[in-house]
Symmetry: C2
């Protein structure tokens, strides 16, 4: 379902209901750009990569957000998916006392979106606005101050003194006449400065009068207590409505966060960074702080790319590419038959393929996720036979009953409708305390990250598993003690990066063109000589083997 600015408010209850009722949520984003151009490194350190991530989140924006909720439907034995596709635009003009925003576009990112038939007019004309919590505070503070007339006085320009004197005289005349013939008086104001001066003058000289800005003039009135209360209520109502509209899409993020439901993405690190950076707060300076912040917001994140590449039971059967479309295709195989997933009632838009629209990609991602998790569950616990048998029995008895009652119930809406049961099986993601099951805990909060020496980015711990490549070496010494020697010893092998663990240094070359053992020996011998100390050097393969 496409959601625009115009119908966002009316769709909010439906979106909240979908989040509240679901078993898990999948999401995807389309971005205005990916990263600064020009980096052609094969490998970077984790800190460097985090800085890139932060820089991207600070600069580029989500232009489309896809959310797909998945809810198990026991009577029909299947999951219902409800995809939502939101256009997001950082509307500034629209929101009174709102911020002006500047963001970056990478030309090629929009060209990529154009290839997927992205509608840029919908984006600008109908995109949903948003405020971060801090921006909301400023918005509320400004509006509250305006509403309470609690505005600091400004200096009066020499040339405006005449204007003000005339205005005061007009008002005073009207007051003196007891405003019988007219219950208000209008004062023309030519610009924002004159308007502000006039408000200020009335506030200070006629504290019992009320003002109301109109087009080209300001209306001065005397309201009785009842009128005053009515006006205050109207203003408060308008304020709350404006606030909801201004906070806009962030409400969806807030509900996703407070639901504590599993959040599924595909290669989701960048998406998560952008969600936080755009809707919540600028990304923190260190990756450690980022991990805490992200985990607090989304305590159960699962990345389908991580599943497909780093979970042995899955990676051994998924041998092709692990991009989303490939995984979608892979999971049509018989071994991934369970569970059945159908689109919820109103979502026929995605019956046909809409790859690279965020809502559809979220739907694909969630579908891939639940199928992979079902497969993993069966691998761990054996096939779902028992449950399926029970289910079959239930279904048989249920359908026997309904057959018995067919005559009576066929046209009777109050009775339970007969439901065809597809016989697929629920995958246990959360236990009764709404905590993740062991099945999920094993794979949650680890996500793919390219161009590092680690197999994944870990939201809960420092990364450990190295990618088993011949360019990576584990040196049992602290970087500070060996840095100078490394620079010399590595010269024959080209540029390299380092990562530090508590006690050791990992050295990884951009590209290796000699046998692994040659480098192991060169580093070990070289450091031995330089430090007059035997230093243990291992290849990534040895390290991982020993690590486990």
């Amino acid at each position: 379902m496409e959601i625009y600015h115009g119908d966002f408010a009316s769709k909010l209850p439906m979106i909240k209901e979908a989040i509240d009722a679901c078993d898990f949520m999948a999401f995807d984003t389309e971005l205005s750009g990916l990263h600064r151009p020009g980096n052609t490194q094969h490998l970077d350190s984790r800190d460097f990569r985090y800085n890139e991530l932060k820089e991207a989140a600070d600069r580029f924006i989500i232009v489309q957000f896809g959310l797909c909720t998945f809810k198990w439907d026991q009577p029909s034995g299947r999951y219902f998916a409800q995809p939502f596709n939101f256009y997001i635009y950082p509307r500034g003009m629209y929101i009174r006392s709102g911020p002006s925003r500047v963001f970056h576009i990478q030309a090629q990112a929009f060209e990529f979106l154009a290839k997927q038939a992205f509608d840029f007019n919908k984006w600008v004309y109908q995109g949903i606005p948003y405020l971060t919590p801090d921006e909301e505070d400023v918005f509320v503070e400004n509006r509250r101050r305006l509403m309470s007339d609690n505005i600091p006085d400004i200096q009066v320009d020499e040339k405006e003194r005449g204007f003000l004197a005339a205005a005061v005289e007009t008002i005073q005349n009207w007051v003196d006449k007891g405003h019988k013939d007219q219950n208000y008086v209008n004062i023309e104001a030519r610009n924002a400065y004159q308007r502000r001066l006039l408000y200020q003058e009335v506030r200070n000289k006629f504290p019992d009068l009320s003002t109301e800005g109109r087009r080209g003039f300001i209306r001065i009135m005397r309201l009785d207590a009842k009128e005053q209360e009515k006006r205050t209520n109207e203003m408060e109502k308008q304020f709350q409505s404006d606030r909801t509209e201004a906070v806009g899409f962030r409400q969806v993020i807030d509900w996703m966060t407070s639901s504590k439901k599993p959040l599924v993405g595909h290669n989701m690190l960048l998406d998560v960074a952008h969600v936080i950076g755009q809707f919540i707060q600028p990304l923190p300076d260190t990756k450690e702080e980022f991990k805490v912040l992200a985990h607090n917001m989304f305590p159960i994140m699962v990345d389908t790319k991580f599943l497909a590449t780093c979970v042995p039971e899955l990676s051994e059967v998924i041998t092709g590419s692990t991009d989303l479309e490939s995984l979608r295709f892979e999971t049509t195989r018989h071994m991934f038959k369970n569970p059945r997933i159908d689109l919820g009632g109103y979502y026929m838009r995605y019956a046909a393929d809409k790859a690279h629209e965020a809502g559809y990609d979220a739907f694909m991602t969630g579908s891939v996720f639940i199928k992979l998790m079902s497969y993993l569950y069966e691998k761990e616990h054996g096939p779902f036979v028992e449950e399926e048998k029970e289910k079959d029995e239930d279904q048989v008895s249920s359908s026997e009953n309904s057959e018995d009652e067919e005559e009576d119930t066929q046209f009777d809406d109050d009775e339970e409708e007969e439901v065809y049961n597809y016989g697929s099986v629920h995958v246990p993601l959360l236990d009764e305390q709404q905590q993740q099951t062991a099945l999920v805990a094993r794979v949650s909060n680890k996500v793919s990250q390219a161009r590092t020496i680690y197999r994944y980015f870990d939201f809960l711990h420092p990364e450990q598993d190295l990618i088993n490549k011949p360019n990576t070496f584990f040196v049992q010494a602290k970087l500070q003690d060996i840095q100078a020697h490394l620079d010399v010893l590595t010269q024959p092998y080209g540029s390299y990066i380092t990562e530090q663990t508590d006690t050791a240094t990992i050295v990884a070359f951009q590209r290796v063109t000699v046998p692994v053992q040659e480098i192991v020996d060169a580093l070990a011998d070289g450091l031995h000589k330089a430090l007059d100390l035997k230093v243990d050097v291992k290849s990534a393969q040895e390290y991982n083997f020993i690590g486990k």
Copy 2:
């Protein structure tokens, strides 16, 4: 006429012809943003304003460019306007070996464009690309190097040695067989790295063979001299066509530059800065260098806002707003009747109002310009009576002739067609040497600039004319000698900016709330005491009066 990427190449000759034939050109741009948010100063120094201008040109981009050529048509006694409206997109993907570009968007700028019904899909999907001269050099160099196989060798990864050995064996076998059964051999390559290694291997081991990249494989052939020449010609043709497409819109700018025709804009400083920054080169570090660069590109610039605000004969009759639409309205008055302007044959799109589309705004700008210049000419030289009389006589005799010959010529296409003469009069902008007339020289190369203390930005000289405001004071001392004292003496009057002339300092307060004379006295007395030296201090009014 709207010009898109798809039909740009076919429209180029028509655009060039319009520029070559015209009397003057008007232009306008629509931008992705104006400036960093948050500056609420009333006044800034010229250097600060130039830095803002440069920053804006470095960050934001022209998304739509309007060009309107105006050509005097003697037979019909009127100007023909030919407006062109170009969508501009910094296409990166499309151009092979082209740059990746990142630019900024100010959310409110797009919202403004949306209010004018801007089509963002046309912009991304059909916008015309461009390269600056430096980018073109890189493009040409890269393509030439690829075409001449003059690429530096790269290191061969350990794991690709097998792939290369197998490839060499296959090629050698085919060579050994004298390639009788097949005049080429295909080698599969799985990725860009393998492709590059293969090209390199063939280049080094089989220098007399040719390679051709295909989808998924590389074809290796032996071409005879004739085939080789044919292939070279094809590649050269393709290269030239790609180059033209890649350079794209800059060709139009180049023609505008080389035409040396008067270039008219409305409030055009920002537009000129963006044209240079986006299509030619990053803006220089100082405003002085910028002036030289801009003047060299466009030796005769005229700003309609400058005309309306700073030319006394015009500003005394144009008493309302000086935004473009207001000027367009003002110039419908009888005193601005000359000359008549009509849209050229194919431009009916602008018969109806299309304000804020760049092409239409360019048309409006040029129309306002030529009417103001005509009025100015008449003010200087008296009404166009003589010329009009001659013209009338010509017309009468011409129409007598045609009456005589009517029977013969009515359906004869070869004969000169009878043309109705609107009797409006040509405005002399250029003399016979294509140099600007005195009429134009008086107003050219001075353009409006807000938020400075000067009446205009001057492309040829340091600015001199101060805006006559009570906040501005002329102090006959060098800034370096009085800075410390100024900081103290100005404290009662709020924040201020300074500008330096060769021998003096101009001090301007953001807002003045006391009589002018009080500040004149305070500064003069204070500096006298502090420096033990009488320092001349004048208000802006005194300064301008004496300056003239």
